[in-house]
Symmetry: C2
Subunit: 204 residues, 2 copies
């Protein structure tokens, strides 16, 4: 049985990562988004174990202390994190798991899970990025500038990733991400585990 | 300018490599077959510089002595080989070059060109391989057994390759090889060279 792969997808906001990931999930039934743990309350319609694993603050902090989290962060007073136990279980069934996290989360994952495959999504130009961040809402220049600074900080970590996708034309970018995921299933290590009997009969 | 990649595709005969490679070339205009040098005479319709670079025996032996060949072999008294100079020129224009060679040629290439990406194509079963080798002609069992022995020897080198494609359903196998080639263009090294200005503007 071949293990699945863990993909970490990171991008500045405005790069179109969400659209890209949705298209990948639609195109490839073997890929699944990681289900995070969080201490925030479920919103209307959210299902425990599907959208998130909703847990109490004490439980989350126990998971941190026990080293069970591949990565975690606190945002507006709520914890969000990825369970290493859950990821390993999912991957051992042969599924590919995708984590959408920022560069800091990606660094944490890489330390604990060095075989994770990092994908970074870039916008086609600085101008496109800025116009996408502007179009999102009617925000002040100050807010936009702050978003741009965050986006650039994110981009400054591109060199830490294995693959880079420039999202200029969404159809091409979708083909790119689908190809990377498919190709990583065909590495010698994965195929040797998947086709052990075949390979030994052909060598024999 | 991002360099292209050099792919080495190896398979036992009967694995369907020729069909697979033809489909890849049809699907991806940036991939080109390597043009070998040979000392054999051109056949009717063969064009010098397109099908082969046709050279005299002395010139071929000079290329061997000068270390200009990535790999070469002598088959039925004729030399066949790949020029390192030609490969480097082709790759420097950004094209991906594909070499169809056996495991011995692949080993030679790997020594001189360690960044070459090796793909091995396997048949879906030993029985399929044998029936494909039988169907090719009306040969004696002795001839078939010899072919099987050569095919198994080829397969015994699968572990020396980076990617493995099992050619069970040709459509899937084509998608596999197309994905591997596309994904290898998206590595950090290649994309950093291709999008240097973009990346530096986004980091800046």
């Amino acid at each position: 049985m071949a293990k699945g792969n863990l993909f970490v997808v990171t991008a500045p906001s405005g790069a179109g990562k969400t659209t890209l990931v949705a298209a990948l999930l639609a195109a490839d039934a073997n890929v699944q988004l990681s289900i995070s743990y969080t201490t925030r309350a479920p919103r209307a319609g959210e299902v425990d174990g599907k959208d998130y694993h909703f847990v109490e603050r004490e439980q989350f902090e126990r998971m941190i202390s026990a080293g069970e989290l591949l990565e975690h962060a606190e945002v507006y007073g709520n914890y969000y994190g990825t369970s290493q136990v859950w990821i390993n279980e999912a991957i051992n069934t042969g599924r590919d798991i995708l984590l959408e996290i920022d560069w800091q989360g990606a660094q944490q994952v890489r330390r604990l899970f060095p075989e994770a495959i990092g994908l970074f999504v870039l916008p086609p130009s600085l101008e496109t990025l800025e116009s996408r961040l502007r179009n999102r809402g009617k925000d002040s220049d100050e807010v936009i500038n702050k978003r741009m600074a965050v986006a650039r900080e994110e981009c400054s970590h591109v060199d830490e990733f294995d693959f880079v996708i420039v999202n200029e034309h969404i159809d091409d970018a979708v083909r790119d991400i689908v190809s990377v995921v498919r190709a990583q299933r065909l590495t010698l290590v994965r195929q040797s585990a998947r086709h052990t009997a075949l390979i030994s009969s052909l060598k024999g």
